[in-house]
C-alpha cells in the first residue's frame, strides 16, 4: 500500500490491477483560472478513496470531471477501461455524442452536497425514476427495487414523503439510494454531510460505511477526517488544484510528509 502512496509513483507506473478510475495529469481551466493541474489519481475496484483539502482546492471540480458535468482540458481520465468523454482513433479525438456520455455517466453515482432531490417526486419516485426512464425497467420492478433500497438506507417508512417533509439526513440518504438504483460501479460523494446539522451527520456516514463494507468503490470528498481515517483505504490531499500528497489513511493523517498537508490537518483539527 505504502509503495503506491506517492503521486510521483502512480504517475510513472499504473498499479498492477487496472484501476477502475484513473486520472492522468488532469487539467481543468475555467477561463484563465486553473482549477486543476496535473491531477493523477488511481482508484482500484472496491477501494475507498477520500479527498481532503482546503476550500477552493478543486475537489468538487475533480468529481464533476469524472461524471462529465465538466469537461477536462488536459491529460486524460479513464473510467472502467474507457476514455471519459472522448473516443480516440489514432491521434484523432472525437467528443462523444450525448447518448454515449449518458451511458458513461451511468457507471458513476453522484451524491451532491445539497442533495438535489427532485422536489416534485416522493422519495420512492426519486429513486425509481432513473431505472424507469434510463434503464427501461418496468414501473413495478423499479418501485419494488426502490423500496428495497430505501429500506436499506433506513427509510422504509418514508417512501411516500416528499423531500420537503424529510430531514436533511433523510434527504441525503434518499439521494444515496437514488444513485445506487442505477447500479453504478463507482460512487462519488461531494461533501455529503457538510450541509447537515451535526446530529444528522452520523446517520449518513453510517450508510456510507455500510456501502464501503459491501465493497462499493467510492471516491469521497469530505471534511470528516474521522470518517476518512476509519473507512478510507487511501486519502488524497489536494491544494490549489494539485494533488499534494496521497497515502494510506493512517499514514497520511498521522505522519504527513508535506508541510502543506501538516498545516491543513492542524488547522482542521484545531477548529474542532
Amino acid at each position: 500500500m505504502n509503495a503506491r502512496g506517492m503521486t510521483a509513483m502512480t504517475d510513472a507506473a499504473a498499479p498492477a490491477a487496472a484501476p477502475i478510475v484513473s486520472g492522468r495529469k488532469v487539467g481543468k481551466l475555467f477561463g484563465d483560472f486553473r482549477a486543476l493541474t496535473d491531477v493523477s489519481i488511481d482508484v482500484a475496484e472496491g477501494e475507498v478513496v477520500c479527498i481532503i483539502g482546503p476550500s477552493g482546492s478543486g475537489k468538487t471540480t475533480f468529481l464533476r470531471c469524472i461524471n462529465q458535468l465538466e469537461r477536462i482540458d488536459n491529460g486524460a481520465l479513464w473510467l472502467d477501461g474507457e476514455l471519459v468523454g472522448f473516443r480516440l482513433e489514432g491521434e484523432r479525438l472525437h467528443p462523444l455524442p450525448d447518448g454515449e456520455i449518458a451511458r458513461q455517466r451511468r457507471k458513476t453515482g453522484m451524491v451532491f452536497q445539497r442533495f438535489n432531490l427532485f422536489p416534485h417526486m416522493t422519495a420512492l419516485q426519486n429513486v425509481s425514476e432513473g431505472p424507469v426512464q434510463v434503464l427501461g425497467e418496468s414501473r413495478a420492478k423499479a418501485t419494488e427495487r426502490a423500496r428495497a433500497l430505501l429500506t436499506r438506507v433506513g427509510l422504509g417508512d418514508k417512501t411516500d414523503s416528499f423531500p420537503k417533509d424529510l430531514s436533511g439526513g433523510q434527504q441525503q440518504r434518499t439521494a444515496i439510494a437514488r444513485a445506487l438504483a442505477m447500479n453504478p460501479k463507482v460512487m462519488l460523494f461531494d461533501e455529503p454531510t457538510s450541509a447537515l446539522d451535526p446530529e444528522l451527520v452520523g446517520e449518513v456516514l453510517a450508510v456510507m460505511r455500510d456501502l464501503a463494507r459491501e465493497g462499493m468503490t467510492m471516491i469521497v470528498v469530505t471534511h470528516e477526517l474521522g470518517f476518512a481515517r476509519e473507512v478510507a483505504d487511501r486519502v488524497v490531499f489536494m491544494d490549489q488544484g494539485r494533488v499534494v500528497e496521497t497515502g494510506p489513511a493512517h499514514a497520511l493523517m498521522d505522519t504527513p510528509q508535506e508541510k502543506r498537508t501538516r498545516d491543513f490537518l492542524r488547522s482542521v483539527t484545531h477548529k474542532d
Binding site: N67, L69, D98, G99, A102, R103, R105, R106, T108, G109, M110, F112, R114, N116, L117, F118, P119, H120, M121, T122, E129, G130, Q133, V134, F162, P163, K164, R178, A179, A181, M182
Partner: protein, 303 residues
Amino acid sequence: MSLTSGAAAAIAPNPHSGPARREAAPEVDISKMIQVRPRRWGRMTAVALIVLILAWLTKAFAEGNIAWDVTGDHMFWPTILKGVWGTIWMSIACMIMGIVIGVVCAVMRGSPNPVLRWVAIGYQWFFRGTPVVLQLLIWFNLALVFPYMGVPGIGSARTVDLITPIVATLLGLGLNQGAYTSEVVRAGLLSVDRGQFEAAQAIGMGYWTSLRRIILPQAMRVVIPPLGNEFIGLVKMTSLASIIGFSDLLRSVQDVYYLNARVIELLMVAAAWYLVVVTILSIGQSALERRFGRGFASGVRTE
C-alpha cells in the same frame, strides 16, 4: 402599569428591590376555556362598504333602461350558444397551439445551438412586435400576396379557399399566443435550480428526458398562474376575430341585435357568458396548481 413607570423601571432598576416577583403559573388549560372571537373591525367595515356599493349598482341597473327579461330570454338562443361554442373551442385550440409553440420556442431559446436560439428570438420579435389585429388581417388577406398556395408535386389551391376565417383566426391568435407563452414558459424554466438538471444528468438522463421528467414539471408550477392569465386573455381576444368574420360570442350577439335592436340587453348576454367561461377556467387553473404544486411549500397563501 403605566408606560412611563415601566420604561423608567427598565432603564433604572431599583437596586434595592429583589428579583422581579412572579406568581407561580396557575393551572390553565386553554382548551377548556371559552374562546372570544377577535372583532375584526376592518374586515367588517370593508364588507359593509362592498355590500352598499353592490346594492347601489344593482338598483341603478335594475331601474336603468335595460329590459333584463330580454337578456334572460336570449341567454340560450341557438345563435348565441353557437357563438359561445365558437369562442370556447377557438380559445382552446389557440391555447394548445400557443403552449406547444411556447414550450418548443422556450426550449429553443435555452438551447446551446445558436441557430435554434435565433430562430426563436426572431419569431418572438415579429409576433410580439405587431398588433394581433394586424396579424389577423394579414393572414386573412394572404390571398393578395399569394393567390395560390401548394406543395410542388402534390397540388395547389386558391388561397382564398384555404384561408377561411377559421384558419386565419387559428393562425393569427395561435401564433401570437405562442410568442407570449414562450416567455412565460422560459421564466418557468429559469426558475428551476441548475442542480436539478445536474442531478438528472448524473443518473444518466439525456437532455430531453431531463427536460420532460424533471425540469418542465417543476417549471409548470411557476408557469400555471401566468398561463391562466394568458388563457383568460385569449378567451376575450377571440372577439377580435369577429372583424375577419369568425363567429365568436361577440359576433353572434351583434348579429342578433342588428335584427332586434336590443343592444344593451344582448351585450349583457355576452358579458354573462364571458364571465361563465372565465369562471370555469379559473376553477380548472386552481386544480392544475394543486396538481403541480405537490412537493413544494409556499410561504404565502396561494389561493
